[in-house]
């Protein structure tokens, strides 16, 4: 580990961190095991710290969703049965709840809440651009996740909310989502864009200012003006929600900056995800979010770096025939054939050396980490998939630094 950690006064763990927070946002690039890590952290917090803990997941693997009991539940939260936690060897002090994010449902709720009247709400909900915007516009997932988080937090139903973030192309996108949404609907650009339509003009009677004229000329030729009118109509309707919407987006942003909120970056020790994790840590610091912990996930075991093991692996490869002959002298038919035993010994030795190469690469990458939060948790690569509460418990014990059982 980095020297900084060893000199730090009282090394904190994820347990202490979560005990002091109300919201923990888990982020990182795709495929690093963010969802499982978030669920595992929530599980541990519920059994160790007590209270009501919610894990809000975005896109869990189906078997994990089934294990948490949230498959097909939409936005509804569901309590993970106490028996399941007891079955994994815990005496839970609190409750573990899980919920998935239903993007479309959440957007519809938002529109219904902020539209000035029902008629406008339904005009928006039925607009084909609205469907496209909410379903396909990537940032809309980012925003709505944060918005839902705000909603749940404000309800006061949970002591701790652990959030898994959407798989963004760029991990920092969702940090900017609230502000971008506020800019989007509140911007001068939008007013400017819809100006010709707000002036009461249909085609032909448009009043265009000097700045917007070239845009409309190009847009007319490229897209046809019907499309532009569709866009304008949509925005005009949407703008009626402006005040409520911007107010909310600002509040969401404030909540993410609140001292009760912390961020945990999850990564594997592979070059690309790690680089992204580092950028992410920097961006969090730059934007003054609280970077609480770093989770190094799916790491290889330390024994792969062991010098004695390396020597033994070498000996297995080099002395395979002699060792096989000695082993054949022992009882047991599985070792009776020296040629086969020698082959197996060599394979075992070579396999060790293969994994040793990868483990060394991991160790180097770990040593190169520049900005590290105070809490660094390591979770090993498990032989099988994490698909149930037992599996989450295994991850959780490592997250809370108590791997033994």
């Amino acid at each position: 580990m980095t020297p900084r950690r060893t000199v730090a006064p009282a090394p904190q763990g994820l347990e202490q961190l979560l005990a002091a927070k109300e919201i923990a946002v888990f982020c990182g690039s795709g495929g690093v095991g963010k969802t499982s890590a978030a669920a595992a952290a929530a599980l541990m917090a519920s059994v160790r710290l007590g209270g009501r803990v919610l894990v809000l997941t975005i896109d869990p693997a189906r078997r994990l969703a089934t294990a948490l009991g949230i498959e097909g539940l939409g936005n509804l939260a569901h309590q993970v049965p106490v028996e399941a936690l007891k079955g994994a060897g815990f005496e839970p002090r609190g409750e573990l709840w899980a919920a998935m994010l239903d993007t479309k449902q959440s957007w519809d709720d938002l529109v219904l809440r902020h539209a000035p009247d029902e008629q406008t709400a339904y005009r928006i909900l039925e607009n084909r651009l609205y469907h496209n915007l909410t379903a396909r516009f990537v940032q809309s997932h980012d925003y709505i996740a944060m918005e839902r988080l705000y909603e749940i937090h404000a309800s006061g139903e949970y002591d701790l909310i652990v959030v898994d973030t959407p798989p963004t192309r760029n991990a920092i996108d969702f940090l900017e989502a609230p502000r971008r949404m506020a800019d989007f609907f509140g911007g001068r650009l939008l007013r400017w864009l819809t100006l010709p339509y707000r002036m009461g003009g249909k085609r032909g009677s448009r009043v265009l200012n000097v700045a917007s004229r070239p845009f409309y000329q190009i847009a007319d030729r490229v897209l046809g003006s019907k499309f532009l009118e569709d866009i304008a109509e949509f925005f005009l309707n949407f703008q009626s929600m402006y005040d409520g919407f911007v107010e909310r987006a600002t509040a969401v942003e404030r909540l993410l900056h609140d001292r009760r909120t912390t961020f945990t970056v999850v990564t594997t020790l592979e070059a690309a995800p790690l680089r992204e994790a580092e950028v992410f840590c920097e961006e969090l610091a730059k934007r003054e979010f609280h970077l609480g912990a770093l989770v190094l996930n799916k790491t290889l075991p330390d024994y792969l770096l062991d010098g004695d093991a390396d020597e033994a692996a070498g000996a297995l490869c080099d002395d395979a025939p002699a060792l096989a002959a000695e082993l054949a002298a022992l009882d047991g038919e599985d070792l009776a054939e020296p040629a086969r035993t020698a082959r197996v010994l060599r394979t075992v030795g070579e396999s060790f050396r293969n994994f040793e190469v990868v483990a060394k690469r991991e160790a180097e990458l770990r040593a190169e980490l520049s900005r590290v939060p105070e809490v660094v948790a390591r979770v090993p690569s498990f032989e099988d998939d994490i698909a149930d509460v037992d599996g989450l418990a295994r991850i959780g014990r490592h997250l809370f630094s108590e791997p033994g059982r």
Binding site: G31, R221, L223, V344
Partner: protein, 324 residues
Amino acid sequence: MAVVRPAPDLLARRLLFFTGKGGVGKSTVAAATALLAAEHGKRVLLVEVDAKGNLTDLFEQPPVGFEPREVHPGVLAMTMDTEASLREYLKLNLRMPVFGRIGPVARVFEFVATAAPGVKEILTVGKICWDVREIVEGRSDVDLVVVDAAATGHIVAQLGAADSIRELVDVGPVRQQTEWMSELLCDPAITAVNVVTTPEEMPVAETIELVERVRRELSVPLGTVVVNRVLPELFTHTDEATFEALREPEPSRLLERRTGAGVTAVLDAARLAVSLRRTRAAHLMHLLDTVDLPLLYVPYLFVRDHGLRVTRMVADALGEELGL
């Protein structure tokens, strides 16, 4: 592992998309395919769509912009930039030369493009199709376009952009453009969409889902599924029995005496390798049972570094799988 289904002659196509769940090695496979094609005498344009800006690392070259640059003999690389694509489109199609930045128009464009469906996608796919049409009609010095495309979550929107735009735009040059674009994209002699995955639960699940969605919602032909990071099979059935016997008390004591105390860790590591392989094999079987596309296997590479050497190793593995 044997190829179960005959792999198509991928390199004879003109446009290859590579998509997949984040983190499975999509860029590496796309770059390796470009390298493989170049080594078989083709001139390739490699397009990075999801601008992470590190595709050229795989050739140990500095980043490229919208203007293609040769990053390896026979491989040109470019990074997609929708605004640059719009500028090029306006210049070529409407004879509207736009110098420098488009200024305020660009800001409005950015705004509309972010809000309106399909605009960014059409400028991405449109630029790619334009280059492919130049090839098909014999006006290009490039033979093949390889796209490091959007991840599984976004690729359908990208490939379906031409159709989405057609639904929204009734008239105008854009509508006509989308027609020839769809023709190119749906021609199996020209285009193939390839899905990159690893033998793990989520990547396999997303692959299965994507293949179903592409078939249901698009007419774009699917090519292969590239399974990356396949762990080697360590033991045959009988060899595994021998391995298990080594872990019995008496044999392990003998090994410890002869090779040192570290041998326990060595045996544990082999056990881990066997289990990892077994879990992944189950996902692979599920993929094989569910998806009827040819699978290409790329082995897990036990190497320290990245860069061109690794790209070449993946290219070699793909070449072998394709029978080249």
